[in-house]
Symmetry: C2
């Protein structure tokens, strides 16, 4: 639904109806079923994607076939392989749907056009990039500083909603621990 995206923009910046229409004109809506890929390693990725419903994950697969989740995106989050988008090289990450999902896609050229022509849009994206970098800095800090238990606790604090809707083995993968370890951490933490 484009309306979700519209609301997201309007709550962040002041923007005219004409500008919203400009954005709408270059937006594509896409639906994904659970487990369906948005992007596979090796694809070239040319879009900016905004999640309007459901949940997706960005992840890698290592030599042993194990998945490692870089991040999740639920409603009102952006998702995509920035490296691939930027460089035009094949993606090194996979993205698929954790739940049935709906997205708004804007291709790279149109996205740049919107940034150039709509100052409010540009400012909003700048904010998001900055916030995204800050979030990643914090993520790096917790992965190198915390024990399994601290990591899980922080995840619960930061994303209480996600903790309820995302399977545990995926949370474990996100935290960089095994599902068994997460299960034990949870049992310990309960009483």
């Amino acid at each position: 639904m484009f309306e979700v995206f519209k609301t997201y923009i309007e709550t962040r910046v002041s923007i005219t109806a004409a500008e919203i229409d400009q954005i709408r004109a270059v937006s594509t809506v896409k639906k994904l079923r659970k487990k369906q890929y948005l992007l596979q390693e090796g694809d070239v990725w040319g879009f900016h994607a905004f999640v309007t419903r459901g949940c997706l994950r960005t992840y890698t697969i290592d030599d042993k076939g194990l998945e490692h989740i870089i991040y999740f995106a639920t409603e009102n989050w952006w998702i995509g392989d920035r490296a691939s988008l930027f460089s035009g090289k094949p993606a090194t990450f996979n993205i698929d749907a954790v739940e049935d999902a709906e997205l708004v896609l804007i291709n790279k050229a149109n996205f740049e056009m919107l940034r150039a022509h709509i100052p409010a849009f540009n400012a909003m994206i700048g904010d998001i990039l900055e916030k995204g970098m800050a979030a990643m800095q914090n993520r790096i800090n917790s992965t190198i500083s915390f024990t399994a238990e601290q990591k899980y606790q922080q995840f619960l604090d930061k994303y209480p909603d996600m903790a309820l809707r995302i399977p545990q083995h995926m949370i474990a993968s996100y935290l960089g621990i095994t599902p068994e370890t997460l299960s034990r951490v949870r049992r310990q933490a309960k009483p």
Copy 2:
């Protein structure tokens, strides 16, 4: 030295001498001695900083007093607490000099002014942000996916120069392992 910064810009985008002068006019040069702070946790940070000489590190200190290094910056790297810069809130990170260093500082307001008035500068910064995000994605991936040995090997591959000039215990801190473990990893890897 501003000249290093000038060269950096000129190799990345095409820019006029007048524009360079505009940038120079709002740039401040700062020297730091080894171990001197650029920023301490709790300070409010209002600058973008570019390293022209030496080496700095961004790090946190945990409850136990242990340091955890988020990243290093050597010549031709940018450094700063983006979260604090963006939000205006006190920094949650520390930055200090690993080696005697020289920096070019531009305050937030002037930096935004440069981005608004000099398209080439704006494009360059956009590129840097994108690349920075891609690098962070990869960093997250390796911290959650790799063993101590793989992390160290990747560090050597990516930053062979840094491996020579940065003390080992700081590399260990960056990798999220203890100095003892790094020492043992190195011994194993040698023969």
